[in-house]
């Protein structure tokens, strides 16, 4: 992969957006630097872009050799905003890579595959613009069927929304995963919500501009991180819903879809084979009971007249 990268004369940057990640950032930087810079020179830079951590995140990252930036110091003349999306957006300005890999900094079982697994498709497949990570580790190696998919917000909010409005995008197994690699020419063309909606808007925008053929997905095996509370997921969902509805409005989707899609798509996996499961869910409506003739007759609703 390194040879092919060098042949294409590509530069690759790794961006770790952070906010108080002192317990995990050290290992992430050490592993990526050691494996993907010293041993295999796949990455040209590792940058931590921070939203203003109050712990030792930046100190630790810098100690282990990452370039560290405060998001507010990048493009300082612009009105300051705060959020993960803001860090990602500013990284496009700050970093030099033709490909930028984004990896969340709270991953406890970090491994070099989190970067090279996402970079591979961009190096070998010129038509691919955006590579999304997903996680699926079978508990046993038998051929039993198991549900495969994302976290709670993905399954409860994003997947139903995509199924309704953008059925093709349901092919993305984990639309909200924070691990993805993108070509610069794509990143510079799309706008970024500064908060939780950034992953959702990326998918909608890339889909709108380039179609499904721009996407690739990489199985990154397993991701261990702290679970968020339901309240936090509520906030996240609100941000995502806001972004989604705004995009729908801009794309004219809300107005044109008089009849919504009725197919809800989820994934199941058998061994390493991922199958789409389609549920025809028709939220059909019954009229008020008093409009039903039999009911009216039984309860003598017409007699009183």
């Amino acid at each position: 992969m390194v040879e092919e990268k060098e042949r294409q004369n590509l530069k690759i940057s790794l961006c770790l957006p952070t906010l108080n990640e002192e317990s995990t950032i050290g290992k992430e930087v050490v592993l990526f630097r050691s494996e993907l810079m010293s041993r295999y020179p796949l990455l040209d830079e590792i940058a931590v872009i921070d939203s203003g951590s109050t712990d030792k995140t930046l100190e630790i990252a810098s100690n282990f050799g990452a370039d560290t930036y405060l998001a507010s110091d990048i493009l300082p003349d612009l009105e300051p905003k705060k959020g993960k999306g803001e860090n990602l957006w500013k990284s496009i300005y700050q970093l030099k890579g033709d490909i930028i890999v984004f990896v969340d900094a709270d991953i406890k079982n970090i491994h070099p595959r989190f970067a090279y697994g996402l970079i591979g498709p961009l190096i070998y497949r010129p038509e691919v613009q955006y590579v999304k990570g997903f996680y699926d580790r079978p508990l046993t190696l038998s051929n039993v069927t198991r549900p495969s998919g994302g976290g709670r917000v993905t399954e409860i909010l994003t997947r139903p929304l995509f199924s309704l409005f953008f059925p093709e995008l349901t092919a993305i197994i984990q639309p909200l995963s924070g691990e993805y690699a993108v070509r610069r020419n794509v990143l510079e063309e799309i706008s970024f919500p500064i908060g939780y909606g950034v992953e959702t808007s990326h998918l909608l925008d890339v889909y709108g501009k380039y179609g499904m053929q721009a996407f690739a997905q990489s199985d990154l095996d397993q991701r261990i991180h702290d679970n968020k509370s339901t309240r936090d997921l509520g906030k996240m969902s609100f941000g995502i819903l806001q972004t989604f509805l705004t995009r729908c409005k801009e794309m004219g989707v809300l107005d044109t879809h008089k009849d919504y899609e009725t197919v809800f798509r989820q994934f199941q996996a058998v061994s390493s084979d991922y199958q789409v499961v389609e549920h025809h869910i028709i939220e059909d409506e019954r009229p008020p009971m008093n409009t039903i003739a039999e009911y009216r007759e039984k309860f003598g609703l017409d007699k009183s007249k």
Partner: protein
Amino acid sequence: MTPYENPELDLILSELPALIEKNKSLRDILLANLAIIGETPSPTFKEENRIRLLLDRFTELGLSKTSIDEMGNGVAVIDGQGGDNNLMIVAHADTIVSEKINHNYTITPDEVIGPGVADNSLGVAVLATLPYILQQIDYVPQNNIILVAATRSLGRGNLEGLRFFLANSKLPVKQAISVEGVRLGRLSHKSIGMLRGEITCKIPEQYDWSRFGSSSAILTLNEVINKINDIRLPKRPKSSIVMGTISGGNSFNSIATTASLRFEIRSESVQLTREIAERIDEITAEVTSGAGETVRLDTFASREPGGIPFSHPLVRSTRKIIQELGVEPRLAPSTSELAAFIDYNVPAITLGITEGEHLGDDNESIRIEPIYKGLAQLIAVIKAIDGGICE
């Protein structure tokens, strides 16, 4: 030249400061190896994944002679420049940590925290990194260096992996170094006699309820422990009985039907080790004769005392190297890998790499800074052995 002068060793000692600096520049490589290896669970008898990972590392570094033997040991050879001898570096690959425990490590600028990091993930990480370090300092040994990550070392494993290797390897080992994560300064050259066992007490499920409150496997075990405690040990040869772990019972309010004690007898004398073991055997028989209880003694690991003397050139050179690093050598006897080397008459020492805390706990930790000296010490000893000044 007096017998105390040794220009070859002096040269090695003079290279130590530069070696420490070089090791600092290789920090990320070692820490990455430590995290990847340490996060792969490797309880005794289940070391396959860690060994496979290590072998991948060796292959990536271009070592061609890598293999996994019948006992699961991971083996690689750094070819020498034609020397006839084989120097062996061994680290035990198993840990006392169950695979059910969360194995995620945290790396800070000062330390690495995670279960088994000191014992002995760091030792295995050093093994994984050593060929790279030697490449970086352009050191090609005269003799072959055999790297072995030994399986089935701890507890009931009883050094099975290393013993198997020494019994069956086609490469006769001239001298050996056993690498342990902690502590820097450790220089073990002798093994004390050891015998490990487990005493299990059981009472029938339907026990004598008329003795309500006084009957319990825990009480029976307590009786055993009291009797073991009464065994009188002589001042010399030095001997001790270590009560290691105790377990029994299920809840506050139900009578414990089983209880067990794991212990270790340590002694400088083979004869005394056997005598103590016989006495414990008698105690279990004595307690068993009570109503209903069964007390069983199971011994599963033993070591013969032995080793190389303090004045052996290997010990002497290593002591000088450790002192040159500004560290006080600690010459504690060992019950670890040395015992296997002693059985096969291979002169060997055990070295520690750094300082550590909370050993055996889930938050076991090692300090990063002393590692640079620890590695320098190991490389210097390798050079000394390779240069033939330890014979």
